[in-house]
Symmetry: C2
Subunit: 451 residues, 2 copies
Amino acid sequence: MISIYNKNIEEIIFSLLKETDKEKIREIVEEIHPVDFLEFLENYEEEFYNIVEKLPDDYIVELINEAEIEDKLDIINKISEDRKNNVIPDISSDELVDMLEEADEEQKQDIFEYLDEEDKDEIKELLEYPSDTAGGIMATEFLTVKEDMTMDETIAYLRKMAPDYQTPYYVYVVDDDNILKGVVQLRQILTCNSDTKIKDEMITSVISVDVNTDQEEVAVLFEKYGFASMPVVDEKNNEILGIITFDDIMNVITEEHTEDMYHMAGLDTEEELTGDILTSVKSRSMWLTINLFTAMLASSVVGFFEGTISQIVALATFMPIVAGMGGNAATQTLTIMIRGIAMGELNYENEKDVLKKELCVAIMDGLIIGVLIGVITYIRVRNIAFGVIISCALLFNILVSAIGGFFVPITLKKFNIDPAVASSVFVTTMTDMAGFGCFLGLATIFMKYLT
Amino acid sequence: MISIYNKNIEEIIFSLLKETDKEKIREIVEEIHPVDFLEFLENYEEEFYNIVEKLPDDYIVELINEAEIEDKLDIINKISEDRKNNVIPDISSDELVDMLEEADEEQKQDIFEYLDEEDKDEIKELLEYPSDTAGGIMATEFLTVKEDMTMDETIAYLRKMAPDYQTPYYVYVVDDDNILKGVVQLRQILTCNSDTKIKDEMITSVISVDVNTDQEEVAVLFEKYGFASMPVVDEKNNEILGIITFDDIMNVITEEHTEDMYHMAGLDTEEELTGDILTSVKSRSMWLTINLFTAMLASSVVGFFEGTISQIVALATFMPIVAGMGGNAATQTLTIMIRGIAMGELNYENEKDVLKKELCVAIMDGLIIGVLIGVITYIRVRNIAFGVIISCALLFNILVSAIGGFFVPITLKKFNIDPAVASSVFVTTMTDMAGFGCFLGLATIFMKYLT
């Protein structure tokens, strides 16, 4: 799938071991994407020291910038003292913050040693923001220009500053107090007349995010507008504090999505495909235990009707159908709702329409499934009352699943509880209890027609 | 959350209605992101004609480029004939293709009328690629340069071509046969000496995707490398055919996420929060019907043991617990597996480790839940055998859920069936049948200890 490139990447990296010419080494590694280099290092850990020793400092910085959060510290810990002096100050502020959040107090102090006072203060400030907010994911290496600069002056300025800053896609325009005034695309700078002023080309209504915005909301904005980067501001005075780029947001989108799926299944969001067994057992058994107690609620409803079941044992046979249909219908409404909430599509205005739709769908689905099971049951047990009762129970059950599937996530959301985590346990308990209660209750009332 | 900007956007757009100065109108709309303009148009459909009439052609092009696939045609259909002449040829090729895929034959022919022969052929070629492959999402408006050009020549060339091409983040380098030779970042061009040649700055090992690559795999590469754009090539000769940019990929990522979640719940991927009721009923009732028949399989297992239940009615009370625990444990393993497959994290090498982990977790979870329910049951019914039997049944059930949760998605994947769609119905049927069978079977064997 990836052409040329991946075929001999291991060979190329191994060839570095024999290479002594620094310029040659630089040329070789410039052709290797840091992400691929990191994959190599993961597969050949025993060669780590020998190979990393050969790399230029700025490539090591790139490796740390691109590494998974939990691997960044690992790389830092493995390089020599004088290397750290050159590497640590050049790590992107957002990546450095991610790294420090994983570090213990001693490691943290050790890393701070390599930063100058200004950087240290800046990083300490960044560490104050919760890691899942705009402030927690923004970088502070962004370039700003003044509105009176010409395109030529801007290019000269970019040329001077570029090595120390992240790839700029847009250049932000600020006044003397760092208040965000406008934005210019990099390609506009390139393609305008050289004496055009920034203020003549800039867009003044810049779409920005407040530093306290949740990262999920930031992701929604990136998707909506398709920006390559967005400025982060202090909402009070519109001062620019940092930028967020699309590549960080892609990870956020995937992270948030995995989180939603895992939460719905009662999995820890940190669980990995081949992760630690005890961690998995801890979080999963917790969830199963909660579900065990709610299943016992459903079970107690059945227990309430033991007398009825003892007289008509065939009722027990239909219980898996009642439970299964309610659970499946509930999952459908819940998935629509949880996805809608996560995507920011569900709002105050369309809430009523969604409820109306879910109720209509539930009634129609309930009728279809109800009639189907009624006919099948009649054929199986040759008793019309039995068929009617199971029909009614399923219709009722599917209706309850829609009502629960709609109101539970909305209510949880209003109490600031992630609806993905807690909804399904509430809703399936509701449908189980309602389904069994309706089915066995009707059977008890109309028992004389069933035997 | 969005500063300044959104406060009076409706007011600003309404002010266009009274404006007659074309230059003034251009200045106003340039400050409004097309996505926000589209939102406005959706809310004020009755003003559509009056407002769109005022807009410059190139802004209408932007609106169409940014509109949801199903809305693009709508805009085209509403603008005047001579407008179409100016607008249609300027729509991005990838957006035009998306639009044409939604159009009927007549609309298609009508739109082709406005394209010149060359564009028509190009679009027809693009329409040949399946819409969920790299070829189906790529655009053909990309800029290429030759390796002997200097930075100054490149800038002059970009300046000339820029208006007709998508924002370039990277510039691709090709030979005379359009074979991909290298890539240069836009910012490198800006910050190098003006007489540096492209070939001295370009990276030659370009990471590209073959035109037939599935869009989900393309998304994985974008996430992995954090590229702003990627070239699409013909794998055979490395000829560059198009480019894909990150903003298209963000939509793909979200689309694929939603698809996975919806498939797991048996929802149609096109279903919307406030969509058409009948469409929802059709797809959802289909899924519920399938599940009805599989629930009947589970029900027939229970039916097999009617004799046992008639003697010990309390067994029926425990059935919801057996079904619930199996279902929940299965969902956990399934979610891990389906997410792992979708993210490209599950492969031939780690398959065994994953299975080992899932089995270990299931045994430990099964023991925890088994002992817990055993003790609770003993306290409730004061019968050790009852406690032991329900314990064993849950341990067995959770183990089956891990085995099914592992093998079913892997097997479906091997037969090229989306594991998200079909796994849960198979696995829950397995766990229900195994759980009921084990529980009621043990109860039948050891009946004399239960009464």
